[in-house]
């Protein structure tokens, strides 16, 4: 599990996509830039009637569940990862494709444009050596082949940004291809470790009420190889990616204003993920949790506050938005004896898009000698710009 801001609130996703309508104003001669989306503005009453709900665990099988689940309001394919080019030049990347159902059923119409499916995608590349962080977004409706998803063969795409099954990684491998004007990410991915079912056999509860939950699994360590284009540089790269798959219909509980999410791939073969659902007073919701995965892929859940804890060690103020984000942390897992220091690859990894958040690559090392292995990871911070992601 990772995107609490997205994951727990498919209704918000839907509204976010709907908010694509509200894009547009920009300078007269420059490339058009979408205006800011106000989360508060796109939040509202959410009617879940007619949609499938995540109420109890269900079998999750591949490749079928790699495909779309249109009966649920919201769904995403979320890939992040750390890469290295020749000579150890580090990169971070993110490609997320969001799907939303705008209505429980597809409208009946003679027009092939008629659909209840909408897609949004974010593509980002962190290139600290060039001092560059590039982020782009796209929208499309799930019609006319502009965007869509299928399980067999696996194919998820928006325009020419796509995630497809197969490739050099074998039948269960994937290829990722996405590019915009000055950035390209092209990777062949292997599954790596087995699938980790999050929460209760893949049912991840987000709040106290039944249905306040999602179906959710991860591939926590996918070997990746390919190339990136950053500005004018084309670099062959290799590294590890993390795939989150999640679909749901329900919403986050009241009182949550944002979240901090951490996913680390450690050099000793262990992976760890933890998130904190932040409430208005800064405290963590009881539904905050985490997981550790051993080198063989065996996962053990973590309870926030006892099994896993995070302290903030620094802060950064965005020159683009003026929003102040945490920057630098110490993550503690007492059961493994880890006190891990997390430092962003670059301070500025803010996605200043229609929906504004910070999502960035971090380096990991033990705080002191013997207090944990080195590694790489990704951190996501939402709800810091004054627009609380929940009501």
């Amino acid at each position: 599990m990772s995107r609490p801001w997205a994951g727990g609130s498919p209704g918000r996703r839907c509204r976010l996509l709907a908010g694509a309508l509200a894009l547009g104003a920009c300078g007269p001669s420059e490339a058009p830039v979408p205006p800011r989306l106000s989360l508060a503005g796109v939040l509202g009453g959410v009617d879940t009637a007619g949609y499938d709900r995540a109420v109890e665990p269900r079998p999750i099988g591949l490749p079928a569940d790699h495909g779309p689940h249109p009966g649920f309001r919201s769904e995403w394919w979320y890939l992040t990862g750390n890469l290295e080019g020749d000579g150890g030049r580090p990169f971070g990347f993110q490609l997320t494709i969001f799907r939303a159902s705008l209505a429980p059923a597809a409208p009946t119409s003679a027009s092939a444009w008629a659909t209840n499916q909408a897609y949004m995608a974010h593509l980002a590349l962190t290139d600290p050596q060039a001092g560059r962080f590039l982020a782009r977004e796209r929208f499309a409706r799930g019609a006319q082949g502009l965007a869509g998803a299928s399980a067999d063969p696996l194919r998820v795409w928006l325009g020419d940004w796509r995630l497809e099954g197969g490739g050099p990684g074998g039948p269960s491998g994937m290829t990722l291809r996405a590019s915009d004007a000055d950035l390209t990410v092209e990777l062949d991915l292997e599954p790596g470790k087995p699938v980790v079912l999050q929460g209760e056999r893949g049912l991840s509860r987000k709040g106290p009420r039944p249905g306040n939950a999602s179906y959710y699994y991860s591939l926590t360590r996918m070997p990746a190889r390919g190339r990136v284009v950053s500005g004018k540089d084309t670099i062959d790269v290799a590294g590890t990616a993390w795939l989150d798959r999640e679909w749901s219909t329900s919403v986050l509980p009241d009182g949550v204003v944002g979240w901090d999410w951490f996913a680390l791939q450690l050099d000793d073969g262990w992976d760890v993920m933890a998130y904190r659902l932040r409430r208005g007073d800064g405290s963590a919701s009881p539904f905050s949790e985490g997981v550790v995965v051993d080198p063989a892929g065996r996962a053990v859940g973590l309870t926030w506050g006892t099994d896993v804890e995070v302290e903030q060690t620094g802060a950064w103020t965005s020159p683009h938005s003026g929003v102040r984000y945490p920057s630098g942390w110490v993550l503690t897992v007492p059961s493994r004896g880890w006190r891990l220091r997390l430092e962003p690859l670059m301070a500025d990894q803010e996605l200043d898009l229609s929906f504004r958040y910070w999502e960035g690559a971090v380096t990991v090392r033990g705080e002191q000698r013997g207090s944990g292995p080195t590694g790489r990871g990704y951190v996501e911070l939402t709800g810091y710009d004054g627009n609380p992601p929940a009501r």
């Binding site: 839907c14 309508l21 547009g24 058009p32 705008l102 027009s111 444009w113």
Partner: protein, 850 residues
């Protein structure tokens, strides 16, 4: 104020009538120019707002040559080429019972593609439920103002009719753009989801266009080339502005015609000024001569006269500009109505008042006044100081000028005619030629006046005795005053005659053409939003039901759509003609007897006269048509007369059309009935049949009704011209009035002498009105041949080059009689005041002179 200025100011203040009429002349001329300019500008601004607001920020646009684009093209561009900033658009027109009389533009968009293009669409949107907008098949967003007009709010339903079919849309939100221009541009716009648009507009599977945003750099140029490589043969990729240019090009000729007409009005105004200033100079010759003797330089004299002119012109121009704004308000509606009737729907009706145009109007007025006053000013300055008092010398000079003016006039007129002959298609040159011709003819009027008065003198003498002789001789002996007056009158009157004859000729030609063309007994079409063109598709079951009626013996079908030919947007019409319908073609040229045999087999096309003119096509020429399968070269089999579209019509047989364009729809039908059936009964039976087979409402109209409707559109489109003609008449009237009144007032002394030797007041009336009447009559008579010449130029040159139509000249007696009557009435009226004053004043006072 210097003494010289004080002196000239006092002179004018002592002649307030003159002053007022001169200023009025300037004012009217300026008013017409300003009004037309504002109306044209406003209609263009409206056009711009309408087209460009909807076009949004697209840099390029892909459009179909005809029909629509295959919607799958968008996937090629977005997915295969990875060009994200491409938005599909489906457009059309609708009407709504909630907004009677308004044409609503339907803009179907994919909200998820809109971000880079149309910020206004949602910038100010209120209460929009986007999910519902996209997923419900009936969501519509409309401008707040339009919603208020329809009395609907978010959540309410809005009934609309498209192609005769009723639809109920639900208001998903309101558009309320912040900036005024966009706000104007979205007026009467229905924003719907693209799926909704395809459904209600009957465009399933097709797009009206694809908007692109491509950066202006190397990458953008590469993307452009890649887009071009995936386009089907009948699609065009061009800069967004180019498409607006094509649309704008359609109304250019119309605007140019209006502007030229308004400039004619200004020229009348200048003639009035010239006349008035010449008059005031002539009248003050002795005084000016005295000043010269005292050592006032020529330059100072010119300065004095021009300063007077500038002041009068300034006052007139300011008045005229104000008047023009008021007039413009009236005109803009008419201009827009014409634009809407003939070309495209523009739904802004606000008068744009650019300060530049206003100050420009004032400047133009002053400048025109100065130009018109230059000859009298120079005249005043160049005459030798003391000789100036010798009136006979002046008149002798004026008489000597007559043949010179006539020679110059002939040269100018010949140059005008030559210019027409030399240039073949340029409209600007044509107007220049027209102006030269007008000028030339005006310069010929003094000679014509002398000749005509010579002819009339015996009549006047016979009727009025010595007084009649005096009256007629006075015209010639005071030629320095009468010649400019008559010239001004003739110009103004002849232009009204010319316009009147042109409108008559057009109406006559159109009537004959309609009578010849409308061969069927009944015509079936969809209620159309554009008066001049049929659109949409008749439901096939409706067509079946209609032609199956026992009274229907035969039918012709028509399929009509836009076709881009190069930079032109023309009409493509596919016909399946009943034999009787073939007789309705009035060919200018054909390949011969077998025209229709060859046409039916798809061997070639027929083109309308305007198209043949614009594209310089003749029979047997090849015409390249863009079709979905590539360019198809077809032979021109005939050129037929058509007054339905000034852009041009390409007509092809149904079989060829179905093959080339793969479109089986029918836009309208002509039905031939069995002889002797009751027309009204058949119409109601056919209407009942239509109602029984579906929900499409169609118009079943007897030929007479269609003919009537077409003539109504004609009258509407010529309303602007008619108004301008009326204004010209008013200017002419004022001109006659002021010129002749001045003339008679100037004769006060002479009349005083006559009174003192025993002329009764009644005889003074007779003398004055005989003279003004003679002048008015002469001007009226002279204006007739000149007016007819002008109308020939307007019909054969201006009209042809503007619209490509050939019209049959039809000179109506009413127009001619009107000109003469107007001149006479104005002339007699002009005599009233001076006659009244003269007959009332004591002769002694008159003798004292100034």
């Amino acid at each position: 104020m210097s003494l010289l200025r004080r002196s000239s100011a006092r002179y004018h203040l002592q002649h307030p009538t003159q002053l007022a009429l001169t200023a009025l002349g300037v004012a009217l001329g300026v008013a017409v120019v300003v009004a037309v300019h504002l109306a044209v500008r406003s209609s263009r601004a409206a056009f711009r707002a309408s087209v460009e607001t909807v076009a949004g920020r697209a840099t390029h646009v892909v459009t179909p040559a005809s029909g629509g684009l295959d919607e799958r093209l968008i996937r090629h561009i977005r997915v295969d080429l990875g060009i994200d900033r491409a938005a599909p658009i489906v457009e059309g027109y609708a009407t709504s019972a909630a907004l009677p009389g308004r044409v609503l533009r339907v803009l179907g968009v994919d909200p998820f593609s809109e971000a880079p293009f149309r910020a206004w669409a949602v910038d100010g949107s209120v209460g929009l439920d986007v999910a519902r907008f996209v997923t419900a098949a009936d969501g519509v967003m409309l401008p707040a103002g339009t919603a208020a007009g329809a009395g609907v709010r978010a959540g309410d339903t809005l009934p609309v009719s498209v192609n005769g079919r009723p639809w109920t849309l639900r208001v998903a939100g309101l558009v309320d753009p912040k900036d005024a221009l966009t706000s104007e541009g979205v007026r009467d716009l229905l924003l719907v989801d693209i799926a909704t648009a395809q459904t209600i507009l009957g465009m399933t599977g097709r797009l009206s266009r694809i908007d692109l945003w491509l950066p202006d750099d190397e990458a953008g140029r590469q993307e452009l080339a890649r887009v071009r490589s995936v386009l089907p043969p009948d699609a065009r990729l061009e800069p967004a502005g180019a498409r607006a240019d094509v649309l704008r090009g359609m109304i250019d000729a119309f605007d140019l015609n209006l502007t030229a007409l308004s400039l004619l009005a200004l020229i009348f105004g200048m003639f009035l000024v010239y006349n008035a200033m010449t008059f005031s100079v002539v009248r003050r010759r002795e005084m000016l001569g005295g000043l010269r003797a005292l050592g006032v330089t020529r330059r100072q004299i010119v300065g004095i006269v021009l300063a007077e002119a500038a002041l009068i012109g300034g006052v007139g121009a300011v008045l005229g500009t104000l008047l023009g704004v008021g007039l413009g308000r009236g005109l803009v509606g008419m201009v827009l109505r014409t634009v809407n009737d003939l070309w495209l729907v523009v739904s802004v009706e606000r008068l744009t008042l650019p300060p530049v145009a206003l100050s420009g109007g004032v400047l133009l007025g002053i400048l025109a006044t100065l130009v018109a006053s230059l000859p009298p000013a120079v005249e005043a300055a160049t005459s030798p100081p003391r000789l100036a008092r010798m009136r006979s010398t002046l008149e002798e000079r004026a008489r000597r000028m007559v043949p010179r003016a006539a020679a110059l006039g002939s040269i100018s007129a010949v140059a005008g005619v030559a210019l027409v002959g030399l240039s073949t298609h340029s409209l600007g040159v044509s107007f220049a030629a027209l102006f030269l011709l007008v000028l030339g003819l005006a310069l010929l009027t003094p000679l014509a006046t002398v000749v005509l008065i010579g002819v009339l003198r015996p009549v006047a003498s016979w009727a009025g005795g010595l007084l009649g002789t005096m009256a007629s001789r006075g015209v010639v002996t005071t030629l320095s005053r009468t010649a400019p007056a008559v010239a001004a009158l003739v110009v103004a009157l002849s232009v009204t005659v010319g316009l009147g004859v042109m409108i008559d000729s057009f109406r006559g030609t159109l009537t004959r053409w309609l009578d010849a063309t409308l061969q069927a007994d009944l015509y079936v079409s969809l209620p159309s939003v554009l008066a001049s063109r049929a659109d949409g598709t008749l439901d096939p079951v409706v067509v079946e039901a209609l032609i199956a009626h026992p009274a229907v013996e035969g039918h012709s079908t028509y399929r009509s759509r836009d076709l881009r030919l190069g930079d032109r947007l023309v009409r493509l019409v596919a016909v399946e003609l009943d034999r009787r319908g073939e007789a309705g073609f009035d060919f200018v040229r054909t390949v011969g007897d077998r025209t229709f045999d060859r046409f039916r087999t798809g061997d070639g096309v027929l083109v309308s006269e305007p198209l043949a003119y614009r594209m310089r096509l003749s029979v047997e020429d090849g015409l390249e048509l863009p079709t979905p399968d590539g360019v198809s070269r077809l032979r021109v089999l005939g050129v037929f007369r058509d007054y339905g579209s000034d852009q041009g019509v390409v007509m092809m047989s149904r079989s060829a059309f179905d093959r080339l364009f793969r479109d089986t729809g029918v836009t309208s039908l002509g039905l031939f009935l069995a002889p002797g059936v009751d027309l009204a009964r058949v119409v109601s039976e056919l209407e009942a049949r239509v109602a029984s087979v579906g929900d499409q409402a169609v118009l079943v109209r007897p030929t007479a009704a269609l003919r009537e409707g077409s003539l109504q559109v004609f009258e509407r489109t010529f309303r602007v011209t008619a108004v301008l003609r009326m204004l010209a008449l008013i200017v002419a009237f004022v001109g006659v009035l002021s010129a002749l009144m001045a003339l008679e007032l100037e004769r006060a002394r002479e009349l005083g002498v006559l009174r003192s030797i025993g002329l009764t007041p009644g005889q003074v009336w007779g003398l004055v009105t005989t003279q003004t009447g003679l002048l008015g009559f002469v001007a009226g008579i002279l204006s007739l041949p000149i007016g007819v010449v002008l109308s020939i130029v307007m019909i054969e040159v201006i009209n042809r080059r503007s619209f490509g139509w050939s019209l049959d000249l039809g000179v109506g007696a009413a127009v001619l009689a009107q000109a003469v009557a107007l001149a006479l009435v104005a002339a007699l009226l002009a005599g009233l005041y001076p006659a009244w004053r003269m007959s009332r004043a004591s002769p002694a006072a008159a003798l004292r002179g100034e």
